[in-house]
């Protein structure tokens, strides 16, 4: 007699499983496609190379932070400080660069180093003092904002010429920044799928205790993931400098909320253990295309906020999250 078939039954669950796993992602892309259809039919300038370049470049700005945020959320963490860190990074890079090409390299290194330091501090507080990531990064949001203001409350520093040009450069029809985002997107997908570090992120988010007992270096991985998240914020700060040419402290507030929203819309669970690069891209595109369309279609200014709120609520409510 076949004991194992009696025990385990057959394995025809995979189709339902597939749908359960990727259903939300399909839904988000369905939404995005719907917006595209509306855009194409209602505005002749929506589906132009120029506008699409805008859309993808803007997606890159939100998307890079969203990728870092997604990795942190995958470990059942959160990082509320990225907006403030973008602000501080802009100021630091602008001041160090000070308009000189010679300073460009050192400015980039200094800004990324700042990200590493902030990420390490987050990791330390979360790992060693066992404070909830929400609280750690909430405090750090407030503190970094204070630091940003004390560096400068008015525009300061300057990007070098090459650095400003970077923003408009293209590879073929694609803006270089969008290409960069695409590369990071693929790298993140590969990281999650093909590296030990990626698997550990899932393990920690799925069950930290189990991961710890299985010999996963939980603390190291956490340090790593918060550093990566802060690095994406620093990198975004650099991109903003390239976009603006001057360090402006007006930028940065609220980026974290947008990034988290995009990640959640993309089907990543705030409870950890589940993440989807494709979904996050979908979430980023959904928010980006919505904003783009509001402008393109000249939607009545009084209801723009309402439309955005409805899109977000509908997108997050569309599927039930797992866990409780």
């Amino acid at each position: 007699m076949n004991l194992s078939s009696a025990l385990f039954g057959d394995m025809t669950k995979s189709r339902a499983l597939f749908l359960r796993r990727y259903g939300p992602v399909f839904a988000v892309y369905g939404f995005v496609i719907l917006l595209f259809v509306i855009g194409i039919t209602q505005s002749e300038r929506f589906f132009t190379e120029r506008n699409l370049a805008n859309v993808v470049r803007q997606a890159a700005f939100l998307g890079i932070v969203a990728l870092g945020q997604m990795l942190v959320i995958l470990t059942a963490g959160i990082d509320l400080s990225v907006g403030s860190l973008v602000k501080v990074s802009i100021l630091v890079s602008a001041i160090v660069m000070n308009g000189e090409s010679d300073n460009m390299f050192i400015a980039i290194v200094a800004t990324l180093a700042l990200g590493v330091v902030v990420g390490l501090i987050h990791g330390f507080l979360i790992n060693e003092l066992r404070i909830a990531p929400f609280i750690v990064t909430l405090a750090s949001l407030v503190i970094l904002r204070g630091i940003g203001l004390s560096i400068s409350s008015s525009p300061v520093g300057k990007a070098s010429r090459e650095f400003i040009m970077f923003y408009v450069q293209k590879i073929g029809p694609a803006p270089i920044i969008a290409v960069m985002f695409g590369v990071l997107l693929v790298l993140t997908a590969l990281l999650l799928r093909y590296t030990v570090f990626g698997k550990y992120l899932f393990a920690i988010g799925g069950n930290t205790e189990v991961a710890h007992l299985s010999g996963v270096p939980v603390k190291k991985v956490r340090y790593g993931v918060y550093v990566i998240c802060s690095l994406t914020a620093s990198l975004t700060g650099l991109l903003w400098l390239s976009r603006m040419g001057v360090g402006d402290p007006a930028i940065g507030d609220g980026i974290e909320l947008q990034a988290i929203t995009a990640v959640i819309i993309g089907g990543t669970s705030l409870f950890g253990g589940r993440a989807s690069v494709l979904g996050t891209l979908g979430g980023v595109l959904l928010l980006g295309v919505t904003a783009n369309l509001l402008v393109m279609l000249g939607v009545n200014q009084f209801i723009q906020g309402l439309v955005q709120g409805l899109v977000i609520v509908a997108a997050v409510a569309i599927y039930k999250q797992e866990g409780d």
């Binding site: 009696a6 394995m11 093909y194 253990g273």
Partner: protein, 503 residues
């Protein structure tokens, strides 16, 4: 130095001022099975967690393979060849079978890149060695509990463990699953692997152990070879008093019909289950893990919605219910299987835990009447002999056994007509088991009907007045209590028919 692979000397450990282990020594030779037994709170799990590097001992030394080790991390413990299979299965539900097996020690190329080919080949080979077929890419959340346990064992094997600790592996397995486990264990032992086997089930201990260590209240009672022990002696060592009878029998008669379920189905697994429950009886429900027993309990209780069929209580309080609140109101309660995570409010006081189900009775205009509440808690304390410092103590500071009693008290306070007990003695030590059985009989005497779901066949046979066996979400058949044999039940549970097994 010595032929002991593991030598733990004079280990002590306290938590939050409460002593968990005192001066316990424990050692193992290679290629043998060591059983560690003791009541709940005796310190077995703590001892193993210290071995695993999850806790640090306050005092004592550990020698492993002749070398002293201090403050090693969980990862280092695994690397040194010790693997531990925890009672709460240590698997990451969202990850695949293969990823779980090699979690923490993934085969890799340079730069931390996974060697997926090797991962799948090696995990496939391991499962083959265990004689099971599983989709390696399936997330563990899609597996049954029994399948998950096998993945755990595969994980231990993958670590090339010299020493495998199994913390109550049988608690969630039944019948043939258990046989399969024992087969795997003897296989491993013959390969020179040392097994430390922690269990409450004495039959299993006598079946597989070479040496038995008994702990009580955090202290070592005795370590003896199995052939110097018999059951009564072992029970006496564990409980500290002799125990004549495990299953209390009283004469009782079947009362009136109280609960009728007709053809109930759910979208989980239940598929047309009908049953009747009479006042004052114990209806035992047996079956494999995953056969739908727990789902049946949840459906009866209104915790999962019915997609077909009906359930009703036949007496005066007869009512329909759609959720647990209404079920409790109607006189039916469910004591869940996983009491700690589904039953206890660990952060809250004993008082709140005990009275949470009967707040409407204890409140006037929504305000809790303190005096009446204290009476209820005192009475529960007496009736179930709960040991606690005060009613305002947080439940987390009670011992495991007392936590169980608090959970039971909570349900009994509702004065139910029907009590569904899902695995009432799972993870409970011998002494407490006996108390629970006595309690069940007392409930019967008061005319309360009990539906008991259990994986322990001796318990099913020893306690039930009638036995139903489930398979694939259906009732496979009823086994007459008089002269019931474990084999008959297993037969029904696996094959769904009650013919004799071919020899």
């Amino acid at each position: 130095m010595s032929d002991y692979i593991l030598d733990m000397r004079n280990i002590s450990k306290s938590f939050a001022g409460v002593r968990a282990l005192k001066d316990v020594s424990f050692r193992c030779q290679p290629g043998r099975v060591y059983a560690v037994v003791g009541e709940n709170g005796a310190g077995k799990s703590t001892l193993m967690k210290i071995l695993a590097g999850a806790y640090r001992a306050d005092a004592g030394e550990i020698f492993y393979k002749g070398q002293r080790r201090d403050n090693v991390s969980a990862g280092e413990v695994i690397d040194s060849g010790i693997s531990i299979i925890y009672q709460e299965l240590a698997l990451v539900k969202q990850m695949s079978v293969a990823e779980n097996i090699f979690l923490g020690r993934e085969p890799r190329h340079a730069f931390g890149i996974l060697n997926l080919q090797e991962l799948y080949e090696r995990s496939g080979a391991l499962l083959k060695r265990l004689g099971i077929r599983l989709d390696l890419r399936l997330p563990v959340s899609e597996l049954t509990i029994a399948q998950q346990q096998l993945v755990e064992i595969a994980k231990a094997l993958s670590q090339n463990a010299d020493l495998i600790v199994m913390d109550e592996p049988s608690a969630i397995l039944a019948g043939s699953e258990l046989d399969q486990l024992f087969e795997i264990i003897s296989n491993l032992v013959s390969q020179g692997v040392t097994i430390i086997y922690i269990s409450h089930r004495l039959e299993e201990v006598f079946r597989i152990a070479d040496v038995v260590t008994v702990l009580k209240d955090g202290e070592l009672v005795d370590t003896r070879p199995i052939d110097q022990l018999d059951r009564p002696t072992l029970v006496e060592l564990m409980v500290g008093r002799p125990m004549e009878e495990i299953f209390p029998r009283t004469d009782h008669h079947q009362g009136d019909l109280v609960l009728v379920a007709e053809n109930i189905s759910t979208d989980t697994i239940l598929d047309g289950v009908s049953l009747e429950v009479h006042a004052g009886e114990i209806l035992g429900i047996a079956g494999m893990v995953g056969s739908g027993r727990t789902e049946l309990a949840r459906a009866l209780f209104g915790a999962d919605p019915l997609t077909g069929g009906s359930i009703k209580l036949v007496d005066k309080r007869s009512a329909k219910w759609k959720n647990p609140a209404q079920a409790i109101e109607s006189g039916l309660v469910l004591v869940p299987e996983d009491r700690k995570s589904h039953g206890l409010f660990t952060d809250l006081t004993v008082r709140i835990n005990v009275t949470i189900t009967i707040l409407s009775r204890l409140t006037r205009f929504g305000v809790v009447q303190r005096d009446e509440e204290s009476e209820v808690v005192d009475e529960a304390k007496q009736r179930l002999s709960i040991v606690m410092a005060s009613a305002d103590q947080e439940a987390q500071y009670l011992s495991g056994g007392n936590q169980q009693k608090v959970v039971l008290a909570k349900w009994l306070e509702t004065d139910p007509d029907v009590v569904i007990l899902d695995e009432p003695t799972r993870g409970v030590d011998v002494g407490a088991k006996f108390e629970i059985y006595k309690l069940m009989r007392q409930l019967n005497d008061r005319g309360i009907a009990i539906v008991m779901i259990s994986s322990e066949l001796p318990e099913i046979i020893g306690m039930s007045d009638r036995i139903l066996v489930m398979r694939d979400g259906k009732i496979a058949g009823e086994v007459p209590v008089e002269g019931a044999r474990e084999a008959d039940i297993i037969q029904l549970a696996i094959l769904g028919q009650s013919e004799a097994l071919p020899a």
